[in-house]
């Protein structure tokens, strides 16, 4: 099974948001692999490996990232986790929007012919939550968004995806090739069942695996192809232009109440909320 994982590098979300001249000030920012995309890499590994003994039974994981030169660092992180090779489409963040990303990915997918495209449900900087669905639409492939669980059929020709929707968990079956976007809980101890890892096996800890020293060394030798937007016939002319960014207005200061009866009185009479 060949899995393509598009990843985006984003500013570390734990940093304080700074605005300068109506734009996000990223001077000196540190960068990470978008958390949801990192989970997609983890999911791809869990789909291909035997989690109990760490062996892989064939298959290939290809990372694709569209971003500036120094995004190579985040791409190497994915390779160090265990992905096999990567394609780095070098572009400035200002040149690309969801539609441009989708057009590039479409071309790459037509050439690479993966069985599955796995990616995060959204990037934690733009929070747009579009690319997976748009890509599936353009490819005319089935989609399963917001995956909390994935169960791979024995013949590897279909997946049953547990999706967190309003009011419960929906189970949707999709044949491959398909686009699957992952949500937080995909990295739960038993969220991914591939029929190879014993069902009794629990992945330990939370989140994606950290690259091992061996993985980091191996990643340096893994193929990382550099391409550019023009190679895919995509013009750097985004359909969506960010005009300005501002901090949200602060909430008016609240009050500390001394006891429960005061709270209830104020909720009833002042806030008229009860």
């Amino acid at each position: 099974m060949k899995i393509l994982v598009p990843v985006k590098r984003v500013p570390d979300p734990t940093q304080k948001t700074k605005i300068k001249d109506g734009q996000i000030d990223l001077t000196g920012a540190s960068w990470i692999v978008n958390t949801f995309d990192e989970y997609a890499v983890e999911t791809a590994l869990r789909l291909l490996e035997n989690g109990a003994d760490g062996t892989r039974q064939g298959g290939e994981i290809v990372i694709v990232s569209i971003g500036p030169d120094d995004a190579a660092k985040e791409i190497r992180t994915c390779l160090a986790m265990g992905a096999d090779r990567a394609i780095h489409v070098v572009a400035n963040d200002a040149e690309i929007d969801s539609l441009a990303v989708v057009k590039v990915l479409q071309k790459i997918i037509e050439a690479e012919k993966p069985d599955l495209v796995l990616m995060g449900k959204q990037a934690v900087d733009g929070d747009a939550n579009q690319v997976g669905q748009m890509l599936a639409g353009k490819l005319n492939w089935p989609q399963a968004t917001f995956a909390a669980t994935i169960e791979l059929a024995a013949d590897k020709k279909s997946l049953v995806v547990g999706r967190e929707v309003d009011g419960g968990v929906e189970y949707k079956k999709v044949p491959v090739p398909a686009v699957v976007t992952v949500d937080l809980r995909i990295v739960g101890p038993k969220s991914v069942q591939n029929g190879v890892t014993p069902a009794s096996h629990s992945y330990s800890g939370e989140g994606a695996r950290l690259p091992s020293l061996k993985g980091i060394m191996a990643a340096k030798k893994k193929p990382l192809a550099q391409t550019k937007l023009a190679d895919y016939g995509v013009e750097p002319a985004p359909a969506i232009k960010e005009l300005s960014v501002a901090l949200p207005p602060p909430r008016a200061a609240g009050q500390i109440v001394p006891d429960v009866p005061t709270l209830v009185k104020k909720l009833a009479e002042e806030a008229k909320a009860l």
């Binding site: 605005i19 996000i24 969801s98 539609l99 934690v124 900087d125 929070d127 747009a128 939550n129 579009q130 690319v131 997976g132 669905q133 748009m134 890509l135 599936a136 639409g137 005319n140 492939w141 089935p142 989609q143 968004t145 917001f146 909390a148 279909s158 999706r163 967190e164 929707v165 309003d166 009011g167 419960g168 968990v169 929906e170 949707k172 079956k173 999709v174 044949p175 949500d183 937080l184 809980r185 359909a239 969506i240 960010e242 005009l243 960014v245 949200p248 909430r251 008016a252 609240g254 009050q255 500390i256 109440v257 429960v260 709270l263 209830v264 909720l267 009833a268 806030a271 909320a273 009860l274």
Partner: protein, 322 residues
């Protein structure tokens, strides 16, 4: 000049209350585009909800077919895209619910439309304000494609009121329905008589400080007293205390009820992003330095073990006195 095609979800014979935010946006967008609001109802039972929808817009289009019984992006998106073109829509919109977020980008791709997701405000016909970075900043974006796709953040829009007149209802054929091999298997519904978290007027949420799922019972008692939905912080859902779909936050549900109780929740940015649009926020926490108190309208520095039972009895007294 262009119309606004508003995809609306329904339950039984009425629109979901989340759809009213979409309609509120659709009206301002229709004004800016010099067109009218067209409500689109797709799925089994759509006809039954059309009378309710007609109270909110001059035109309602119904697409009903047995093969559309369960929502699937694969079957719904081509219908929405086709009707957008047939009805000269320059804006296609839905509320950013689980369905809206899954569907609209796929529709956008079929229409070559740029999309503004989860918008908080319309600035002009093609310019929108939307939260980014987990709500830590607001971005103003201009969409330059001929058709614009939008999802609407429910908590940022006052629900649309009825227009006072009745719109026309027409039906449209579903056309060829091809699920591309995808199928709905089952829904493990959260069994509850409480309102849906996204639609509730009051939400009672608990956090890590509740320590166990068993301890949430007292919060559920408070919720039932107020007709509230239950919520939780990510710390509580990740610890398995309560179901994952109770999670309020950037990565869970975004809510904006009239009244929000945050009990034993510290107030991580992740959580605040999901609830700071609430009208009145009450924080109950034993530690006065927790960040939740910075967004709370009313803070009570007290252990939940003592505060919540007392709150229940005080609210019962208040109700009895009315």
């Amino acid at each position: 000049m262009g119309n606004v095609l508003a995809f609306c979800e329904f339950t039984g014979s009425t629109l979901r209350s989340s759809a009213l935010a979409n309609l509120a946006f659709a009206r301002t967008a229709a004004q800016a585009h010099g067109g009218e609001v067209i409500v689109l109802l797709v799925g089994e039972g759509a006809q039954a909800a059309s009378a309710d929808a007609a109270k909110y817009a001059p035109k309602v289009i119904v697409v009903e077919d047995g093969a559309l019984a369960h929502y699937l992006a694969e079957t719904y998106a081509p219908i929405v895209a086709r009707l957008a073109k047939e009805n000269d829509a320059t804006v296609v919109t839905a509320t950013a619910t689980a369905v809206g977020k899954d569907l609209i980008p796929r529709v956008a791709a079929l229409l070559d439309a740029g999309q503004a997701s989860d918008i908080a405000r319309l600035e002009s016909k093609d310019t929108f304000v939307r939260p980014i970075l987990a709500g830590n900043a607001y971005s103003t974006v201009k969409v330059t494609t001929p058709i614009i796709a939008v999802t609407v953040r429910q908590s940022e829009f006052e629900p649309a009121a009825e227009t006072g007149s009745t719109g026309t209802v027409t039906t449209a054929p579903a056309g060829t329905i091809d699920a591309l091999g995808a199928s709905f298997e089952r829904l493990d519904a959260q069994k509850s008589d409480r309102p849906d978290l996204s639609d509730a007027k009051v939400v009672v949420s608990g956090g890590r400080g509740m320590k166990s799922g068993e301890n949430f019972k007292v919060l559920e008692e408070l919720a039932d007293l107020l007709g509230a939905a239950m919520g939780a912080s990510r710390a509580a859902t990740d610890a398995g205390m309560v179901p994952a779909d109770w999670q309020v936050g950037q990565t869970g549900k975004i809510v904006a009820p009239n009244l929000y109780f945050a009990v034993a929740i510290s107030g991580a940015i992740q959580h605040l992003a999901g609830m700071k649009g609430s009208k009145t926020i009450v924080a109950i926490n034993k530690n006065k330095d927790e960040p939740i108190f910075q967004v709370a309208d009313y803070g009570l520095v007290m252990e939940w073990e003592k505060a919540v039972p007392e709150l229940i009895s005080e609210i019962k007294k208040l109700k009895a006195s009315r």
